[in-house]
């Protein structure tokens, strides 16, 4: 199983290197196929590892070390990969979904001048993400973590002639760098006490309550930044500047789920700081509500789906935060399927309309693109969580898991159900506006296929997965996924709902979801549409995304610029830079001053001669 893991990790890196070194010697499309093939090979490696582990028994995790990456005294970090139930699950999801999306990109990015660069970056991203999930110790995980942030920067800013894209890329990177920094600080504490960052010693480190809280808080900071949870979420909507497949891959299926993976992986530490773990759950809840609200007013198709992602990851954080790790990971998997599907479906529409992203201008396209429409519908139903689509199985198990926690469990439960309602509204607002309304939009290319096969096939595959992906687990009745993950991420006892709680919650959730769809139909889908209720202050707040951007600008960016400018003006140019010449000038002036003793007049010299001798004589006499 380890060779499979190494193959999985390095195949995409090989793809990147091949494309970079070949440069302009290969045709653009070839770069796409190299990249796709490398990631399919990675998927093969993941499958190999998975079956290998299954044969061994999932309790037997295996760490394989290539060489010692860094060592200083007793502290040693190896370049190692870990094959265990959690990592193989992630490897399969990441490499599988990535392969489909990169295949899709071949059609989507066809004709772009810089296709080779794009595919090199995509392969680099897949390598980074796999490094993150396969990392056998915390430092390699952090290396993958940072490289994922780097790839995200490179891909968001892919069309670098656009200032908005460049700005969005920088914003994403800096916020992620902040998360990296908090994680690094947490690691320093662990190193101080455990002298190692390998998983086993790190998770068994003995720390005081405060220290453990701080460590876990640091980890949570990194997770929140990477997964775009409040308050570190402002980079995600801007990240939509990147090409649509990038949004599908990075900002829906893989990178933003890394935070959930981190919590599941380091759960022994989180469980020792239960308060902070519940803070994570609270963050997730807050995010799922806020993002759901903001999505209601967005007019860019990609931004609606982006906020939806933010909201769904909130569910995953909620699940992981309360201790239902398997449920969180399950939702991660189904979400990867249907969210990628939604993004890619949106991409088909955008591609057909020659780059248009405003949903108000897309009305009427549904009549021309039936396949996309049905696939998008499947994805939307999965997202809202209507039985028997994927999201039903995964999301509802998270919601029901909150019921045994006490008073805050109830708060989470209610909020999550409200979130489901909002999901129904904004998702179907999108669906009805784009695909069922009457309008003038029609595709730019000739009637016939809705898109090249490289685009439609992956979308279709994901459509199937969005429908059946959830059937792998229905907690009361059959739960192979939870069993698979239990050796490494056992669900906490408080987060295990009873069967009754499961059934009741699921029923309520479906009803609430359908209610949301109903409201959306009334406002956006029906022939005689009702007026959308208008509350200007609320509308403005939602459109400004609760003013977080303005807040961060005032708290961080402007003060940094102000301090830097102040220091440059007053300290650097006022004091430090002139200091050297000032010393020189002082030397000059002193010299000139002393030089005035040389008057050129005879009598001055005689006077000094005489006086000096007299003084010396007196001194000699006194000393004698």
């Amino acid at each position: 199983m380890s060779p499979g893991a190494w193959l999985c990790l390095f195949a995409p890196l090989g793809g990147t290197l091949a494309i970079t070194l070949a440069g302009t010697r290969i045709p653009r499309a070839a770069a796409g196929w190299i990249s796709t093939t490398s990631v399919f090979i990675a998927f093969g490696g993941a499958v190999w590892s998975f079956f290998g582990l299954r044969a061994h028994g999932s309790g037997d995790a295996h760490i394989s070390n290539a060489w010692t990456w860094l060592q200083s005294g007793a502290f040693k970090v190896g370049l190692s990969v870990l094959v265990d139930p959690l990592s193989t699950m992630m490897m399969l999801i990441v490499s599988g979904v990535s392969a489909l999306i990169i295949l899709y990109s071949i059609g989507y990015m066809h004709g772009d001048d810089e296709e080779r660069r794009y595919f090199a970056y995509m392969s680099l991203f897949v390598f980074s993400m796999l490094l993150l999930v396969e990392g056998g110790n915390l430092l390699i995980l952090l290396a993958g973590w940072g490289l994922v942030g780097l790839s995200s920067y490179l891909l968001i800013g892919f069309w670098h002639e656009r200032p908005s894209a460049v700005a969005a890329a920088k914003k994403a990177f800096v916020m992620n760098a902040f998360g990296d920094a908090t994680m690094a600080l947490a690691f320093f504490v662990i190193i101080l006490h455990a002298h190692s960052l390998d998983f086993t010693p790190a998770f068994h480190v003995h720390l005081s309550g405060t220290a453990m809280n701080l460590v876990v808080l640091g980890l949570l900071g990194g997770a929140a930044a990477k997964s775009a949870q409040v308050p570190l979420h402002t980079w995600l909507p801007d990240a939509m500047e990147g090409p649509t497949p990038v949004s599908a891959l990075i900002h829906a299926a893989t990178m933003v789920t890394a935070g959930v993976y981190l919590i599941a992986r380091t759960h022994p530490l989180f469980e020792q700081a239960r308060t902070v773990e519940l803070v994570a759950a609270g963050m997730g809840t807050l995010t799922l509500l806020m993002a759901g609200l903001i999505a209601l007013v967005q007019t860019d198709i990609k931004r609606v789906i982006a906020y939806s992602t933010m909201s769904q990851i909130g569910y995953m954080f909620l699940g992981a935060g309360i201790g239902a790790y398997a449920n969180g990971m399950f939702h991660l998997m189904t979400h990867a399927f249907f969210k990628a599907l939604l993004f890619m479906g949106a991409g088909v529409v955008i591609h057909a309309l020659g780059g248009e992203q405003d949903i108000r201008k897309m009305r009427g396209i549904g009549a021309h693109m039936p396949k996309t429409k049905w696939l998008f519908l499947a994805g939307s139903l999965a997202l809202v969580g209507i039985v028997p689509f994927g999201g039903f199985f995964s999301k509802d198990s998270i919601i029901s898991a909150t019921l045994n926690l006490g008073w805050y469990g109830w708060v989470f439960w209610v909020a999550a159900l409200v979130g489901t309602f909002l999901t129904g509204v904004y998702t179907f607002r999108l669906y009805f506006t784009v695909f069922t309304s009457e309008g003038d939009a029609h595709p730019h290319h000739a009637a016939g296929s809705e898109g090249p096969w490289t685009m439609m096939l992956p979308v279709a595959i994901l459509g199937v997965l969005a429908v059946i992906g959830g059937w792998i687990q229905f907690s009361p009745l059959w739960h192979p996924l939870t069993d698979w993950l239990s050796p490494v991420a056992a669900t906490l006892h408080v987060a295990e709902p009873t069967n009754t709680q499961e059934y009741v919650t699921s029923a309520i959730a479906v009803v609430v979801g359908l209610a949301g769809i109903g409201v959306a139909w009334a406002l956006y889908g029906a022939r005689r549409r009702r007026e959308v209720p208008s509350v200007p202050a609320l509308q403005r707040t939602l459109e400004h995304k609760f003013y977080f951007d303005e807040l961060y600008d005032a708290l961080f960016y402007k003060p940094s610029v102000a301090v830097a400018t102040w220091w440059r003006r007053d300290i650097e140019e006022g004091f430090v830079l002139p200091a050297g010449p000032d010393v020189g000038e002082t030397a000059f002036d002193t010299g000139r001053g002393v030089g005035r003793l040389q008057t050129g007049l005879l009598r001055t010299y005689v006077f000094f001669l005489g006086t000096g001798m007299a003084v010396l004589a007196i001194v000699f006499l006194l000393v004698k």
Binding site: L597, T599, G600, L601, V606, G610
Partner: protein, 102 residues
């Protein structure tokens, strides 16, 4: 011991030295400065000889002879400089002759 006490000789010597010093410091003509310098030297000589006589030690008188030799050679050099300056039609005024300055 014949004659006035040593204090009188030293007084005259100091008087001569003082006059000479004032002349060196205050007069402008280099010839007068040299003259005043001579007076200072003579004052010093007088003090040397007076002490020599007082202490019955000949060393003072011999040293006075040495001083006279030095005075003579220095006057030669000085007068040579004055003549050279005069030949160039420069003013014989030490305040004006001050190019060697900082």
């Amino acid at each position: 011991m014949l004659g006035p006490g040593i204090a009188w000789y030293l007084g005259v010597s100091a008087f001569l030295f003082g006059v000479g010093a004032l002349g060196v410091l205050l007069r402008r003509n280099p010839l007068i400065v040299l003259l005043s310098l001579e007076i200072m030297l003579n004052g010093a000589n007088l003090a040397l000889i007076a002490f020599s006589r007082h202490a019955h030690n000949g060393a003072g008188q011999i040293f006075a002879l040495a001083v006279m030799a030095v005075a003579a050679s220095e006057v030669c050099v000085g007068l040579g400089l004055v003549v050279a300056i005069h030949r160039r039609n420069l003013e014989l005024d030490v305040d004006r002759l001050s190019e060697l300055r900082g």
